[in-house]
């Protein structure tokens, strides 16, 4: 496998800057380097120059590239204890909300987080009370989430996660099987809006009650983390919730003072006020 150096990575981000508004140069270096190496291997490029040329001359490839750049989800209901808290606490908020409860799933290119949420929401009979925004870096990611298919290879883990959360309807009853893929039946209603992230800083959804941002900021350096948190902070209502991954933290950012961690011990944070 080709090992990329800092200069290789800089020449790729330099080319990308002219093609797409996303802040590639502030992606976390190690993960970004690994993804670029994976892409070069996958498409059998002979080197960085060939990759850059393809990006510059083939618009469809740019979208494939953006899709391949993002890390795919590997399981439904990752961290079961969080989902138990969502079922009680967040669902209670949704139940008691006078207006439509708005949720933003940020940055995913596969649907595990969305599907997990929708299955539980459906069980609670609350599907009609929400409006959902899903933002994604690539069109291919959006298509992929809409397809509602999941690789059966890793379904064992999803099943064992689910068993820790729900004794309701068996998980498999939500899916139908074809070849090596398992497809989620219905559930995703027309209250879901998909947004491409190329202009997310101009077109971020507003008046949001809950943002799912689990294990997305780990792929950003601290500059981009600040930028993204600022965007999310502005989108959230006061007292709105932000969910981040188990080993993510706001402590290394300037936003730690603007959110209060939930008493459940899960990484659910409440926005304090609009004043920073």
């Amino acid at each position: 496998m080709t090992e990329l150096g800092i200069l290789d990575i800089r020449s790729i981000t330099g080319a990308l800057e002219k093609l797409h508004p996303f802040d590639f140069k502030n992606l976390a270096l190690t993960s970004f380097k690994r993804r670029l190496e994976y892409i070069i291997e996958k498409y059998q490029f002979r080197g960085v120059d060939e990759l850059i040329k393809k990006l510059q001359t083939d618009k469809d490839f740019l979208d494939d590239f953006l899709y391949d750049l993002t890390i795919k989800g590997t399981e439904l209901f990752r961290d079961p204890s969080l989902w138990r808290t969502i079922k009680t606490q967040i669902f209670n908020d949704i139940k008691n909300s006078i207006s439509t409860y708005k949720i933003w799933f940020c940055g995913n290119s596969t649907g595990e987080e969305l599907y997990s949420f929708m299955i539980l929401l459906n069980q609670a009979g609350l599907s009609d009370k929400v409006k959902i925004y899903v933002s994604c870096l690539s069109s291919k990611g959006i298509d992929n989430i809409k397809e509602k298919t999941i690789d059966t290879k890793q379904f064992e883990l999803s099943l064992s996660n689910y068993e820790r959360i729900s004794t309701n309807k068996p998980l498999l009853e939500y899916f139908s099987d074809k070849a090596n893929q398992r497809t989620l039946d219905t559930i995703l209603g027309n209250n879901i809006e998909f947004i491409k992230e190329n202009s997310i800083f101009e077109n971020a959804p507003e008046s949001i009650n809950l943002v799912f941002l689990r294990n997305q900021m780990i792929y950003f350096n601290q500059i981009l983390q600040e930028k993204f948190l600022g965007l999310i902070y502005r989108s959230l209502y006061t007292n709105g919730n932000l969910i981040i991954g188990v080993n993510e933290s706001l402590e290394n950012t300037s936003y730690s003072k603007n959110f209060i961690k939930d008493s459940s011990g899960e990484n659910i944070f409440k926005k304090k006020s609009n004043i920073r």
């Binding site: 270096l29 190690t30 993960s31 590997t74 294990n215 080993n247 993510e248 290394n252």
Partner: protein
């Protein structure tokens, strides 16, 4: 100038007692960070740090993403994440697919330690039942790091140490006590 910047230890089946013994023997003023990448259960998020802490005189943390790496601290790779060493002396996490059926994967922690610390690291592989870590330790060796494996004769399960010895020349094949003496001499 200090010769080393970090000690990185990989272990799996049969390594818990060895780790405990090493941690309980390190002095309070140990000059380097010790980064542990151990195969562990996905669902068991808590308890491991506490179990390791009982006998350790140094503080043990499960790092969060982008946390600073500080000397004299022990860091344990969190469950269900890969643990990377990032430039700027910080950790970075990843949820990319399992490598060698493992997340955290020892290979990935070693690869990133090789890139960042180069010759200023010590990589150690302990008892374990798969081959994770072998390629990572090889990479560390290629960058000039000091490489150590626990003597396979002493390992509860020797697959991991033997795999590392098969694909590269290891600097030291040490018993647990020899590993401890080596680290105390730093």
């Amino acid at each position: 100038m200090q010769k080393y910047k970090a000690v990185i230890i990989g272990g799996s089946a049969g390594s818990f007692q060895v780790i405990t013994k090493i941690l309980s023997s390190l002095p309070k003023n140990f000059p380097l960070p010790v980064i542990l990448c151990l195969h562990r259960l996905k669902h068991v998020k808590s308890g491991f740090v506490e179990a390791l802490s009982i006998k350790s005189s140094l503080p043990i943390y499960e790092p969060n993403d982008k946390d600073h790496i500080k000397p004299g601290n022990i860091y344990l790779a969190p469950a269900n994440y890969h643990l990377f060493i990032e430039l700027g002396n910080r950790f970075a996490l990843s949820t990319e697919d399992q490598v060698n059926h493992s997340r955290p994967s020892i290979d990935l922690t070693f690869f990133t330690a090789a890139s960042v610390y180069r010759e200023k690291a010590i990589g150690i592989i302990l008892s374990g039942a798969n081959k994770d870590g072998a390629h990572g330790l090889k990479k560390m060796g290629e960058k000039g790091a000091t490489t150590i494996v626990q003597n396979p004769e002493e390992c509860q399960v020797a697959t991991m140490t033997k795999a590392a010895m098969e694909i590269s020349k290891i600097d030291h094949i040490f018993s647990t006590n020899e590993i401890i003496n080596f680290l105390k001499g730093l």
